[in-house]
């Protein structure tokens, strides 16, 4: 039984070395060593993670396999500051949307160095990012949305690709679709490949706004990246319908449309292309499709909940249990979506109902 040494991730030199190790080829043995190392660190420095691990009877000393490490529920990021340092203030705090219960989850980072490195690298290795495309983002810029990990990631991509003309097209909650169209027309004239990146709801707004305009033919090598759900911010349409609309609107093949699956609580992302593509993950992560009742992986072909192990998530907790439903396949996982609220509905008040009712009450008070 190996007991990992205790690494101090507050040291800049350690963080740089960690990034190097993550980006190097990672064998199963190395992955196991790295997982033990980060677990030992976070077990020692994140009290909530330590308490959860102890409740599951898992400690760095007793750990048999990295897959035995318990994953913190995503919900915990809404209840507790999960930050591996005694410092009162994190350099960066990213917030989740908080649309379900009205309370956002918070990811505290000591520095964005690791997030920057892995979010660019993952998008290149398993996603569509390359240095050829001019990037257009249907989100606010990082300076306008400092709490958004998505805007931050797109900002890292923009800086990394360094393509002239790359831009953010959401300012003060207003999309500048006219400006975007003009920029796309110019790129088309130059046969400059472009990439359009945004949330599902932003694309719905775009489709609606351009419903009466002619379709565009994006240059070869162009791609579209969609992420996240609708979260009540637009009408909802099914994924295959959304992709069909986008493929038609921009004259791109279905496989040139990518889905990014990530979350504020993590540093790494998974990518899939086409409507039914499997998600690929970078080598410094592992995704298990688990049965919550047993805590174990479901059998191949079965549905379960996605559990992330992300070695890049050193500042909070690297093991995260989501409520996202997926099918386990021999080649990875097929994301189905957020676990639907399928229990019998009725008169009993739930947390979601209470949040909705309190939000409505506070709106009435304001009015």
């Amino acid at each position: 039984m190996k007991i990992a040494k205790l690494t101090d991730f507050s040291q800049t030199s350690v963080r740089k070395a960690w990034i190097r190790r993550l980006l190097e080829p990672i064998s199963e043995t190395t992955w196991d060593e790295l997982a033990r190392e980060i677990f030992a660190w976070q077990f020692a420095s994140v009290p909530a993670f330590r308490r959860l691990s102890l409740a599951h009877g898992v400690t760095p000393k007793s750990l048999k396999s990295w897959s035995d490490i318990p994953a913190v529920p995503q919900q915990l990021f809404k209840r507790e500051k999960l930050f591996a340092y005694p410092k009162p203030q994190a350099a960066t705090i990213y917030e989740t949307s908080g649309t379900t219960t009205g309370q956002p989850g918070r990811q505290h980072l000591l520095s964005t160095d690791i997030y920057r490195a892995v979010s660019v690298e993952a998008a290149q290795r398993v996603g569509p990012l390359n240095n050829n495309a001019q990037l257009h983002f249907l989100t606010p810029s990082p300076s306008e949305a400092r709490q958004s990990s998505l805007s931050a990631m797109f900002g890292f991509w923009q800086k990394h690709s360094d393509q002239p003309g790359s831009s953010f097209w959401l300012h003060k909650d207003q999309f500048d679709f006219d400006g975007l169209r003009e920029a796309l027309i110019q790129a088309i004239a130059k046969q400059q490949p472009v990439a359009l990146c945004g949330t599902a709801f932003s694309f719905v707004h775009l489709i609606d706004a351009w419903a009466d305009l002619p379709c565009l033919t994006l240059p070869s090598g162009s791609w579209i990246l969609e992420t996240g759900g609708f979260k009540g911010r637009s009408r909802e349409i099914a994924k295959d319908e959304l992709y069909a609309h986008l493929a038609q609107l921009f004259t791109v093949p279905n496989y040139a449309i990518w889905n990014e699956y990530g979350m504020s609580e993590l540093s790494s992302q998974a990518y899939a292309h086409g409507t039914h593509g499997l998600h690929g993950t970078p080598p410094w992560t592992r995704v298990l499709v688990c049965d919550p009742a047993t805590g174990r992986e479901v059998a191949l072909g079965q549905h379960g909940l996605i559990r992330w192990y992300d070695l890049a998530n050193v500042d909070s907790v690297f093991a995260l249990q989501t409520l996202d439903l997926a099918e386990r396949t021999p080649l990875g996982f097929r994301l189905i979506g957020r676990l639907p609220r399928t229990e019998p509905r009725g008169c009993s008040l739930s947390a979601e109902d209470l949040a909705v009712s309190q939000a409505a009450h506070s709106l009435e008070s304001i009015a």
Partner: protein, 362 residues
């Protein structure tokens, strides 16, 4: 068919759900006379007669069969024609099946007064004299928008219930069993199911949790068939357990960590809804601060079950006043939360008197 005949048929078909004596009491207390629907009777020198609604439209929720059964039963007692909108396809089909089984088990003269619909029929809904609906607040708002201005609309939207243990340090095994019955009946899905147990300051939480855990396991063993725990439910239970562990809260789990029940001591006194399905929060609060702890759900608390010397004034009048000021509509002994008498005031309203209209002959 007279009221007495319908009463007899109903009580004979479902004696546990509709005990004869309780039906008689219901008619007497809420309509003033057992034959008030069939004959004139005198009250304060005035001749009175009750008129039943011709058409009742019941919108049933997917969580609980008993509310639908009671609602239909009362409609039958009145002799109304009952249209039953069954729970939709997005809900668990078992409630729908049980409602249909209940209707099938009615004697033929009553069964012919019931008609089931799989989808909401807005036209028929508007034709009904009374609409009785169970479900979420959102469902109630949608239905209300479809009703006529002069139509009776009896809405049972979101509500919750609680247990209060007066003397937790002296909790007997019998009282602990009563609490477990309240929590685990109907898999905690109804609005009469307690979502939290409140106890006074000074409680030995460890000892109380142990007693309740033992009672919960005993009660769980008695339940057949066991409620299902599909992925969506299992995930909520496990999430609640893991969040509690991570926050350092005391958690009591069943042997083998099965998903039947969970007790969590949350030091935060503020009410938070439980994920249900056997997950109960134990909260300790000074009586003087109970009002604040429950402020977020004031007006939504249906029932408070009291574990203690309930009949002998086990709760102080100050505590009673706190519950009344929070809009609680029913106080009852622990173990009875899920079994209100037919004569109860559901959310403060008389269940039978609310449905009828009156003819006065002066």
């Amino acid at each position: 068919m007279t009221t007495r005949q319908r009463l007899d048929l109903l009580a004979h078909a479902y004696p546990r759900l509709f005990p004869r004596a309780e039906l008689v009491r219901l008619l007497r207390t809420q309509l003033g006379h057992i034959d008030a629907l069939d004959n004139w009777f005198k009250r304060d020198g005035v001749r009175l007669r009750a008129r039943a609604p011709k058409l009742l439209y019941h919108v049933c929720a997917g969580n609980l069969v008993v509310s639908a059964q009671t609602s239909i039963g009362l409609g039958l007692l009145l002799g109304s024609h009952n249209i039953v909108k069954l729970p939709g396809d997005r809900d668990d089909a078992s409630t729908r099946t049980e409602i249909l089984r209940f209707i099938k088990g009615l004697p033929a003269p009553l069964r012919k007064l019931v008609e089931t619909h799989r989808t909401l029929d807005a036209k028929t809904l508007q034709q009904a004299d009374v609409v009785i609906a169970f479900g979420s607040d959102a469902t109630m708002a949608t239905l209300r928008a479809q009703t006529r201005w002069n139509q009776k609309f009896i809405a049972h939207g979101h509500a919750l219930s609680l247990l209060w243990i007066s003397e937790p340090n002296q909790l007997t095994p019998a009282l602990a069993r009563n609490c477990a019955t309240d929590i685990l009946t109907y898999d905690q899905l109804g609005c009469l199911s307690p979502q939290a147990i409140y106890v006074p300051r000074g409680t030995n939480i460890g000892s109380l949790g142990d007693k309740l855990a033992s009672a919960m396991e005993q009660q769980w063993k008695k339940i057949t068939p066991k409620p299902s725990r599909p992925l969506s439910i299992a995930s909520k239970i496990c999430e609640a357990r893991d969040v509690a562990h991570a926050l350092g809260h005391r958690v009591w789990l069943p042997p083998g960590k099965h998903l039947g029940w969970t007790i969590i001591h949350d030091p935060d006194t503020t009410f938070q809804p439980s994920p249900l399905h056997g997950v109960i929060y134990l909260r300790q609060v000074a009586e003087a601060k109970l009002s604040t702890a429950l402020a977020s759900v004031a007006g939504r608390i249906s029932t408070v079950g009291i574990a203690g010397e309930f009949s002998a004034g086990g709760i102080s009048s100050r505590l009673e006043n706190v519950f009344l000021s929070l809009g609680v509509s029913r106080l009852c002994p622990a173990g009875r939360m899920q079994y209100p008498p037919l004569t109860w005031h559901h959310e403060g309203r008389p269940v039978l008197a609310d449905l009828v209209t009156w003819i006065d002959s002066e």
